[in-house]
């Protein structure tokens, strides 16, 4: 009898083993592949989902090689470092790995200690890139430059620049902290008391009034810079090299890189594993990390203009860090100290509410018949996150006192227009309009955008960062040429960001984005997320 029992048990065991083997064919398949990834590299059943700063988009070829070698998929989702920090505070983290620009955001965000194996992949300082001729004119070539020197050039109106939003992206935040130090007279470290000064407010506003365009991500800032006609930008050294390669190829003037000695910060690009208890994923992650940190790949990464390894830029890669572009591969990078976390957040809040140039947002929102039901519900929810200030503050998207928000609900024609000034009751009342507006009729986004441009004529646009934010869910009637005429008439570069929803026609939206040097956000998966991102750009 006993024997039979044992045989049964063994059989059961064998069955279990084979069943497990079958199951395991689907193992290491880190959950459902999220449709939201920005880029999918390689193919295979196993997936490594990485949420990363946009600057790492330049490393896709390196990642793709690994994905192919291992026959896996790598899904890259690009978000600002601050978004990544916030994500780490959430209950669910739908990624296997995080790769923000700087370890600062990792250690501030990872309060639940879920990130392990974090290691720096490469280093890149945040620097100023200024058109060669202008850099020469300003006397910045071949000498040490301080943040004060840059400020003087900005104050005199000679230097205008692009930088990412300090509350959304690491490069913008780093540069902004550098500005704070300089304006405060280079204290040992910034304290909460320092920030209360009225003088600081006046000076910082003046400084940030020199910002021509902003963006929620560093890589897109570089792309925007290359599309537009700007004099300078604040960005990572590696993206300056990338931009210069492109500029040189086009035969255009390159940027001269300036390292402000009293306002420098470093992005150390840590790649860390989000431990959710899946050993297979952990192993895969470690394999990727080992690959990225191997001598060969570190060298390849160095050739993209990132500083890697322990011994600085190698002799053979010196040609990447060109002296005629102002690059100093052998420079001792001595950064400023980041303030303590609570002070840092205070700095970011002040940037959003008091210091940055006020935004002038024109929301053109689709209320056509096809939006009825779910679509409209999602729209109202998304706008609630932006307009109700308590919600907006969670994502450092709160409005400033002087901010202007215009609402243009449209269907086949413009339904109405509403304007809210500041961050008080007018703004929250705008939300009631969004909520109460009835849906129905056709779609003509061009008519709404044209009305938006007309309304902008009433403002001194140099005092604002203006943008049209357009949401539509269908093929639009009307015509692009109508929009083009109105745009020419206004004669100012107003980016038209659009959010693609429902059955929107991507080509129509891309046309608008290309024409106005803006970009299209995909709101089909998560509309709230798309609105948040778009607001981060303005």
């Amino acid at each position: 009898m006993k024997l039979i029992k044992l045989v049964k048990r063994v059989t059961a065991l064998l069955l279990t083993v084979s069943a497990l083997a079958v199951l395991c064919a689907g193992c290491g398949n880190g959950g459902e592949g999220s449709a939201e990834a920005d880029t999918v590299l390689g193919s295979g059943r196993s997936v490594l989902r990485i949420i990363s700063g946009s600057e790492n988009a330049e490393l896709e070829p390196v990642l793709e090689k690994f994905a192919q070698q291992e026959k896996i998929r790598i899904e890259m989702t690009y978000k600002g470092s601050l978004d990544i920090m916030r994500l780490l505070g959430e209950e669910e983290i739908p990624y296997d790995a995080v790769w923000p620009a700087s370890s600062l955001w990792l250690s501030v965000g990872d309060e639940a200690h879920r990130v392990k194996h974090a290691e720096s992949v490469s280093i890149s300082p945040v620097v100023f890139g200024i058109r060669q001729s202008l850099a020469k004119e300003l006397g910045f070539v071949g000498r040490e430059v301080s943040v004060r020197d840059l400020l003087a050039a900005i104050q005199s109106g000679k230097l205008r620049f692009c930088m990412t939003s300090a509350t959304q992206s690491n490069s913008g935040a780093s540069a902004y902290i550098g500005f704070l130090y300089a304006l405060l007279g280079n204290p040992e470290v910034i304290t909460a008391q320092n920030l209360q000064s009225e003088e600081l407010k006046t000076q910082m506003r003046e400084l940030l009034s020199g910002v021509e365009r902003s963006s929620g991500s560093s890589d897109w800032l570089k792309d925007m810079f290359l599309e537009g006609d700007y004099d300078a930008m604040v960005n990572y050294e590696c993206l300056m090299i990338e931009a210069n390669r492109e500029l040189e190829e086009r035969g255009e003037e390159t940027l001269y890189v300036v390292y402000p000695y009293d306002g420098l910060s470093l992005a150390d690009s840590p790649l860390g594993y989000v431990d959710q208890g899946d050993d297979g994923q952990e192993e895969l992650f470690l394999k990727l990390q080992e690959y990225l940190l191997s001598g060969e790949i570190q060298n390849e990464i160095q050739r993209t203009g990132r500083r890697t390894g322990y011994t600085g830029v190698s002799e053979e890669n010196m040609d990447v860090f060109r002296a005629d572009w102002g690059l100093q591969p052998e420079r001792v990078l001595s950064p400023i100290k980041m303030p303590a976390a609570d002070v840092l957040f205070e700095c970011l809040n002040l940037y959003q509410t008091d210091f940055k140039k006020p935004s002038l947002n024109v929301y053109c929102l689709d209320y056509s018949g096809s939006m009825s039901g779910k679509g409209n519900e999602q729209l109202v929810e998304a706008m609630e996150q932006l307009l109700i200030q308590e919600n907006a503050r969670q994502n450092f998207l709160q409005a400033s006192q002087d901010e202007v928000n215009i609402l243009i609900p449209f269907s086949g024609e413009v339904i109405d227009t509403y304007t809210a000034v500041g961050n008080g009751s007018q703004l929250e009342a705008l939300y009631d309009r969004v909520k109460d507006q009835q849906v129905g009729g056709g779609t003509d986004m061009y008519a709404a955008a044209v009305r938006g441009l007309e309304l902008l004529k009433e403002y001194d646009l140099t005092q604002y960062t203006p943008a049209i934010i357009l949401l539509t869910d269908g093929q639009s009637g009307g015509s692009f040429y109508e929009f083009e005429d109105a745009y020419m008439e206004l004669g100012a570069e107003i980016p038209v960001f659009s959010i693609m929803f429902g059955d929107a026609d991507e080509t129509q939206l891309e046309e608008l984005a290309n024409y106005t040097n803006a970009r299209v956000f995909d709101g089909r998966e998560n509309l709230t997320e798309a609105f948040r991102s778009v607001k981060g750009y303005n």
Binding site: L6, V10, S120, I123, E188, Y261, V332, L333, S334
Partner: protein
């Protein structure tokens, strides 16, 4: 008939083999224990040889989440079997909050040291802040603290390529052990002995202003050390860490160490303090980790591959194999850490 018998015989053999297999595999069941571990010990726990000994001799695997030594005491410990902080103060704090743990034991020891680059070390020697005796570099804590308190800049001591004033980069003393112990060491230095509650009114404000100058601080010793190595002299000219961190790095990656060793200098503070890595078992299951980690071979590996001085405070065997110049054979100048209540007040003030 014969074939039938043979058939039965084979069947019996298969069954017996299966029974043996089931029995053996049962006795081999490996228990997984999980807990919070200070980042500096991860190399040891990830060591395959160590894992093998744990598995084969003790049928144990150790899963961990990284946490600062102080942080882990107050963190949510549900589902965890042990804590493995890097000092005894953490144990004392634990006892104050939760009472006596199921079991606790010191597993490893390593002194707090400072790490710097050769150019900085030379400048510190020239200033009389550091000195070299028999190939080992020592830093005079009193003089160093004075330089920090008076706001001397790196440029003042002949290092104009470094921005700002002289500081020692540490982890956040309220979260992580090496920073916490360095705060204890500074407290001792400021009062010229071992700091206690009566010396606090005098030293707390000074301690606070020293740490305030650091701004944002990393919460893990291993991250700080990694940044020290990778971001170069400019970003982290002088940091506090554990002696074992460099020894482990040199043992794990001798090729890289060979490239950078000329430039990296380990400085022993006089006096220094011991970081005693104490294992706190939170439940019965967790106690198994203590015996296992005290295994003779694990202790040997802990020194040879990871640089932890074990059992006794001096080196269990000579450390030549590390190829780290300036490794002190004995640590003679050691002061005790301030007691837990004093440290608690220091942490609260910082």
């Amino acid at each position: 008939m014969k074939t039938k018998l043979i058939g039965l015989g084979i069947l019996a053999a298969v069954v017996v083999a299966a029974v043996v297999y089931v029995a053996v595999s049962r006795s081999r069941t490996v228990t997984e224990i999980s807990g919070y571990v200070g980042g500096e010990k991860i190399g040891l726990l990830e060591d395959e040889e160590v894992q093998e000994i744990l598995r084969d001799r003790y049928r144990l695997t150790i899963d961990y989440a990284k946490a600062g030594s102080i942080d882990m005491i107050t963190a949510d410990a549900s589902g965890r079997d042990f804590l493995f902080p890097s000092n005894q103060t953490a144990l004392e704090l634990y006892e104050q909050i939760n009472g006596k743990p199921v079991k606790s034991e010191i597993i490893l020891n390593t002194p707090i040291v400072l790490y710097t680059r050769s150019a900085v070390a030379d400048a510190l020697v020239a200033e009389g802040i550091a000195s070299e005796t028999e190939g080992v570099c020592y830093v005079d804590m009193e003089k160093l603290t004075e330089a920090i308190e008076t706001g001397k800049t790196w440029a003042d001591i002949g290092l104009p390529q470094l921005y700002g004033s002289i500081t020692v980069g540490t982890t956040d003393p309220t979260k992580s052990n090496s920073g916490n112990m360095f705060a204890g060491l500074l407290a001792n230095t400021l009062c010229g002995g071992v700091a206690n509650e009566s010396s606090l009114p005098e030293i707390l404000p000074r301690l606070k202003s020293i740490f305030q100058k650091l701004g944002y601080m990393e919460s893990s010793s291993s991250d700080l050390f990694d940044q020290f190595l990778k971001t170069g002299m400019g970003a982290k000219p002088l940091i506090a860490g554990y002696e074992n961190q460099l020894l482990e790095f040199a043992a794990e990656d001798p090729a890289t160490w060979e490239q950078v060793k000329e430039d990296i200098v380990m400085l022993y503070p006089t006096p220094t303090v011991w970081s005693s890595h104490v294992y706190i078992a939170l439940d019965e299951k967790g106690t198994a980790g203590i015996d296992a980690l005290l295994d003779e071979d694990i202790q040997r590996l802990a020194w040879e591959k990871h640089g932890f001085r074990t059992g006794v405070y001096d080196t269990p065997s000579a450390g030549e194999h590390f190829g780290v110049p300036g490794l002190a054979e004995e640590i003679t100048q050691v002061a005790p850490m301030p007691d837990a209540d004093t440290m608690d007040q220091i942490i609260k003030a910082l």
